[in-house]
Symmetry: C2
Subunit: 575 residues, 2 copies
């Protein structure tokens, strides 16, 4: 491609509404343009990278035995009503009516449609397993789209859906996809981790997120230094401590303390003069309409996702003042486990506490020297707080680290959530009707482009890995006015095309400085500089964008050198 002919509008200014590097650089390099909030057009340079990502994904999906299909963007409400998500999905589901006043949505995901196809076409176990995927445009009406194509409303996604006869087969399908995802992100040249994750709105039994490590990432993760445990921060487990009961003789006598208008942990700590680690916090929730008290150490917080999952709850809210009064007999701020009139669970963090402070369930009073067993019976301990520094790995007790990342993929073991709701069944070997076991597997195609840039850029611009670069090499003719020089550049360009190298020829009538700046901004891995001095010696310069290394190469060998460098880089990534 000739730069002079390409729609490739670069800018020097950093766009004021772009907060993170990838958003800024994709705008500055002329890869994308905003059409509306969270809705972007891909210009030629940007779409070249998108197509490369798509091709990597397609190759790996095909290799993993998934079959490509293409489902509509416009989906009828009936299917979503059948799955129960028409009511549950909320405002992110873009709904509309057609000219005949029928309800539809712009598909944010395709569980319903694919399940409908499969239940219609598959009757027996002999037709299973199946894994169907597509690369397709989705819309989620995010309330606050931001960061360019990182969190846009319209986006390109690869989604795959597996259907299996039983749990064992479904697990195999899950693992095959898991491995395909690892290959895909590796081929995209990214540093990533697969972490255990919550199943959220999609539902299902378990799931993993693939996070590309980047400080700007919206997701936090935890991983073990010793074993391969890694999880989304929200999901990461806290290991159950060993129970170490306090001997009776060490229990001090319970003492009620007058604590007028002293309510928060900070206030209690200051007033009584004990560290928050010596206080047990009693949080009262309304869980699906029932009141539940949850105990946690004073310096910790409850992770509501964990609590919700532990209780298998549909809805979870902090209790109202009235509800608190009902179960504690006192206003907010003085709740405690002793004599509370609702069910009780405790986080592991309180398991080995002794002589601690709790609320007295009496206005303006707390209790000192409370002890488990003697004063409070705990029906169940559970992992209900978020992991923090100093915690050990729940698998191997090794040291854990924290990092931030960008979610580029997510695999879910769905189980029978959709096959139950939509009756996707088959006849097994014995002629008995069974529900298919499903999995679903998503990759944010457009987001990979942004994540790759977050992970690999410098002050001058993008630094593409070879596999995602819109062009593999850029030929910079230092002075197009110099006939000999421009002819030499043109020749190299033609040789590269013949060699099958993806080359961009900067044939513009611009100063060399402008061209170098643009080449760096675009992030093309290799740059051939054709300048008068080197040319007189029969040479050109090849510069590596990533390292800044410059090599002088004989003119006649330039195309071959580029070809073999491209091949080598590609091999390195694949290895």
């Amino acid at each position: 491609m000739r730069y002079s002919e390409m729609l490739l509008p670069t800018t020097r200014e950093v766009p004021s509404d772009a907060e993170i590097a990838s958003h800024q650089l994709m705008l500055r390099a002329g890869m994308i343009r905003k059409l509306a909030g969270g809705v972007y057009s891909y210009l030629p340079l940007g779409y070249r990278t998108i197509r490369k990502i798509e091709n990597i994904i397609r190759e790996e999906m095909d290799r993993a035995g998934a079959q490509e299909i293409f489902m509509p963007a416009v989906q009828p409400a009936e299917l979503w009503q059948e799955s129960g998500r028409w009511d549950k999905y909320g405002k992110e589901l873009l709904r509309f009516r057609d000219r005949h006043n029928r309800d539809y949505c712009f598909g944010p995901t395709h569980e319903e449609v694919v399940t409908d196809i499969v239940r219609n076409e598959i009757q027996t176990y002999r037709q299973l397993p199946k894994n169907l995927y597509q690369i397709q445009t989705k819309f989620r009406d995010e309330i606050r789209p931001r960061f360019g194509v990182m969190r846009s409303r319209e986006f390109i996604m690869k989604d795959a859906y597996s259907f299996d006869v039983d749990e064992e087969a479904a697990e195999k399908s899950y693992n095959v996809m898991f491995e395909a995802y690892e290959r895909i992100f590796r081929r995209c040249g990214m540093i990533f981790r697969a972490v255990e994750a919550d199943t959220g709105a999609i539902g299902g039994s378990y799931s993993h997120e693939f996070l590309v490590t980047a400080d700007s990432g919206e997701d936090a993760m935890v991983y073990c230094q010793s074993c391969n445990y890694a999880a989304n921060l929200e999901k990461a487990e806290v290991a159950a401590p060993e129970e170490n009961p306090i001997p009776e003789q060490d229990m001090l006598p319970v003492e009620e303390v007058h604590t007028p208008d002293v309510r928060t942990i900070e206030e209690v700590s200051a007033f009584i003069g004990v560290s928050p680690t010596k206080i047990v916090k009693t949080l009262i929730f309304n869980v699906d309409g029932k009141t539940v008290a949850v105990l946690v150490r004073g310096d910790e917080d409850i992770n509501e996702t964990k609590l919700k999952n532990y209780l298998g709850a549909g809805s979870l809210e902090m209790a109202t003042d009235d509800e608190i009064m009902k179960v504690t007999g006192s206003p907010r701020g003085f709740a405690g486990p002793r004599g509370i009139r609702c069910s009780l669970i405790a986080d592991y963090s309180i398991m080995n506490m002794r002589n601690f402070v709790v609320g007295a369930n009496r206005e303006d009073y707390h209790v000192k020297n409370c002890n488990l067993g003697r004063d409070v019976a705990i029906p169940a301990y559970a992992d209900l707080r978020t992991v923090r520094k100093g915690d050990r790995c729940p698998r191997c007790r090794g040291e854990i680290s924290f990092a931030r990342g960008i979610e580029v993929g997510h695999v879910f073991k769905l189980g029978t959530k959709y096959s139950t709701a939509m009756n996707a069944s088959f006849l097994d070997r014995d002629g008995k009707e069974k529900l298919m076991i499903m999995g679903c597997y998503g990759i944010g195609v457009s987001r990979i482009a942004a994540a790759a840039i977050e992970q690999s850029h410098d002050d001058d611009g993008i630094v593409w890995p070879m596999s995602l670069a819109p062009f593999q090499v850029i030929i910079t003719a230092v002075n197009m006015g110099d006939g000999e020089l421009s002819k030499a550049a043109e020749n190299i360009y033609n040789e590269l095309i013949t060699e099958g190298v993806e080359a961009l020829f900067d044939d513009r009538d611009e100063r060399a400085g402008v061209k170098f700046k643009d080449a760096d901004l675009l992030g093309i891995p290799l740059r051939i500089t054709v300048g008068a001095k080197r040319l007189a010696e029969g040479n050109v310069e090849v510069r590596f964008r990533k390292t800044g290394e410059v090599r002088v190469i004989p003119l006649s060998e330039a195309a071959g050198f580029i070809r073999s460098t491209v091949d080598e880089e590609t091999r390195k990534i694949m290895a």
Copy 2:
């Protein structure tokens, strides 16, 4: 691909709601499934063909210098208001509001979005020409979608848009696209014609449709046997006849005839006893609020598209009884050109008529022996009727033929319709601001698949051209229970994969008859039959789907034979 693993649900029954062959066969061959009215999912087999079509289009677009971009499906109302189409487009434009209550539509086409991109990024003549294309999902809320993906609401389209500095350059861009389209449809193995067409709702200066000839086609066309003239029936020109004025002495005296309640041409013809070819019909229209009388020979009809284009009219309707009374002084049925109080134009068909009958502009009266010049002055003759059998070619006076076809592509010279409305301007060589000259170019990707089937099928199923076939060869193992036989089939399959041939291996435990029927239905160009008798001789059979020809080939040469046959077929299509 192994047939046993593929989601490839074929059916024997002809689906009752599918009227035309392509719709029936795409359903029966498991290529598509309906999700909602005019909304289809592509199953793996169908999507393979779609991808082949896309790749052919992409290669030819790139070769023609167009640059691939990707624009959103969701488009903000503001741009459509700017172009004026938000109000004009009607109910085919699917409109909706997002969660913030802003107006959007699901793009049925992308003139507005691409013009917005280009006006923002292009400032000077040095950045032109540009041709931007995309392959993308569109939605048009057709009132009566039908024929499967032939006329669906959601569909895949390639749309390209060219921007040029002047008319000459724009014409060049148009021609480059025209030639690319010819290559595309040729490579798709289709018999087609490029015909002159009306610009319709898209607007602009001129256009061509690419019609694939098929009796089931919704479009009618006319083409010359002698020269290369071809046009959409609606648009096809009637050559202006030579004027051959009637000598005064041959004009008979005008005679008013009492014709009580005799109104239609048939009634007048019967009552007076003259052929309709001796009667001039006077049709009265309301054109943008003005009344216009149009004359045409009694046996002809007015082509309203031609009339509208000739008058440059926005709206055109038959006049009301009141309007007719106002300009003729009589009720409907007795209008004539003599003394009519509105503007008058005449179709060529009356140019050389003599002593004809017309309405008298008086209730229950007609006039005999009316003559042009003496009794009626015609301010303008024009081509206002549709071509019919017996007409000659407007270019060379050669014989013309009629045919039906399916529109698979459409190229438009838009001129400045959108650049004016949206102010897409640039600075020319002299620093003067000028409007860009635009062209737009569409191909119905999903429709090509259907059109190819309409053009090439038989009673047994689809007959794919090699270039669009989802697989190039199918290997039918006659009896998978026979170990030696299934092993031989498996070997050939693996050899074909190694050779890079797209092979489907029918490894199902089905009777040979079922497999043969499915192979014919799917329309795969080549079938290798591995049967016991031939195998004992060291041979297999290769059957050509199109001709039914069967050749016996040594087992060891089968893969090589297929490889070279595929190459040869591909070459033939390209030539």
